[in-house]
Each structure stands twice: as C-alpha cells, then as structure tokens.
Symmetry: C2
C-alpha cells in the first residue's frame, strides 16, 4: 500500500528550531494556532464544545530513520516504536492540545509542542471516555519521568 496525504492546514507555533520544543504537549503551556484551508472550515462545526482536541500532523523536518534510538529522556537505546521520536517510517505526529477558541479558520490552542509551519493532517475531538487510560503503565519512561519531574529541553520555559 502506498497512499498520498495532503495538509488540511498549517500549525503556527513559537518554535522555530527543534531544540526549543517542549517534549510533549502535556508539558507545554505555549500557545499555537492551526490555520485550516478554506475548503475544510465547515468541518469545524461544533468542535468548539470540546476542551481538548487531537492534532495529527507531519514531522516535516526529520532525520534518517533508525530502528534503535536514544531518546532525550534516557541514556539507553530503545526500539523506535517504544519512543515518540519524530523520525519514523511515517513521521506522523500526535498531540492533545487544549482548545481555547475558534476564530473563522483559526483554532487557537495551548499545549503547542510542534515546530512552526508544521503541516496539519487531521483534527479529532479528544473524548475522555474514548482516549484516557487511567491504568496504563509507562515502560522504560517510568523511571525517567520520575527522576525528571519538570521535563523540558534545553531551556526552562516549559514545565507542568
């Protein structure tokens, strides 16, 4: 199977370089905007009732794909699919962000953790009963997260 995907819009964020990006949206209070192409604006109807939305997007500045990576949160190698590293066979990113408001074709949100100009692929409503897993465990990340209560990259602008 080989299929073509197209952007439905673009994400604006304060992050111009990858070393300034928060590790995850849950650790970011940065504001971002998703600008939707005109032909898709009607599809936003009644999205504003949801407090959180799922953004799927294209990691557009990735490196060579390796099956073993040493993620930021560890010093040991892990399988690529056991990490959230952006350089993947299909570099599709996934963030749950807090929707502040919708203004025409613009979705204003907090929790930005993607580069500025990231191509947007899809928007889905986040539904707690569908998407939360209270009993989930964190694999190799458990000890990393415990030892780094404030997870951030090289600066201290982002914390929970």
């Amino acid at each position: 199977m080989e299929v073509t995907i197209r952007e439905i819009g673009v994400i604006r964020s304060p992050f111009k370089a990858s070393d300034s990006i928060p590790i995850q949206s849950s650790m970011s209070d940065a504001q971002g905007e998703a600008e939707i192409l005109p032909e898709y604006v009607e599809g936003l109807h009644s999205l504003d009732g949801f407090s959180h939305i799922i953004l799927l997007y294209w990691f557009h500045r990735t490196k060579a794909v390796k099956m073993r990576v040493t993620p930021y949160l560890d010093t040991k190698e892990h399988g690529l699919f056991a990490t959230r590293a952006p350089s993947r066979p299909n570099p599709i990113g996934f963030s749950v962000v807090r929707l502040l408001r919708i203004e025409g074709n613009r979705l204003i949100f907090t929790g930005a953790d993607m580069l500025d100009s990231t191509p947007l692929l899809d928007i889905k409503p986040f539904v707690p009963r569908f998407d939360n897993r209270e009993d989930a465990t964190s694999g190799w990340l458990a000890s990393s997260l415990e030892s780094k209560p404030e997870v951030h990259h090289s600066d201290d602008r982002f914390h929970e």
Copy 2:
C-alpha cells in the same frame, strides 16, 4: 505539501465488515494482532514494557468525504472534525489498545476496533503523563454517552 505514506504492517481483527466494529477501542474487548514487516521488527525493542500502545492506521474502506456528518452517536449533524468518522481528508485512524504480548513480529492486543486487514502506519507507546487528560470535556458527545452507557453498534458483543 503532498507526501507518500506506506504501511509498516497490517492489523488482523475479527471484524470483516464495518457494521460489526466496536465504536472505540475503549469499548472493545476484542483481540487483534498487528503484524509488522521484517525491516521494522527491531523498532519494537522495549515496547513490551508498556501496557498500552497507540496504533495509527489507514481507514482503507472509506466513503466520500463530507464536511458535515451525522455520527452514529447522534441524530444531528456535526462538523467532520468534531467526530471520529473514518471518511476524512486524510483517513488516519487512531486507537489506544492494551498490549498483551509481542511474539516476534506480532503484537497481540485487546481493544480491537478496526477492520481486518487494516494497513498499519505507526506504533507509539501510550504514556499516561503525556496522553491522559483528566479534565477534558466531551462536547456534543457528553449527552450521547450518558444516554448510552453501553456503546456498541448493531450487536451486543461489545461493551465496557
């Protein structure tokens, strides 16, 4: 932007037709398997420490894309992006499933809510601290979910 994506494997499930599929993985106790192509198996290393994984896949049997849809859980129309309907501009599906075990190139899981033979695009570890949103609200779905405590399609095999 226009990019090409390829399957990294295929998902096996008990569901051969769309009218028998559970609404969401959180409402399914059906078992499924993701079979990974040989070149990606090394990327599964240390994934088995996670209780839940995120599967991204391609809705391969979709209909015409409409910006307003009447979802199964309501009688009113909503914007496409305020629903989880499979027929989308980029028909990328998203399920959080419970990983039972990994056997070679096969990931055995429960929570199957996709058709048999669905092309798999990506696997990510589910990390509670990254992915849960305890305080999220459910928009138009709130009242639908309340009035349908056991959400299922046309049969009663699936319930929470």
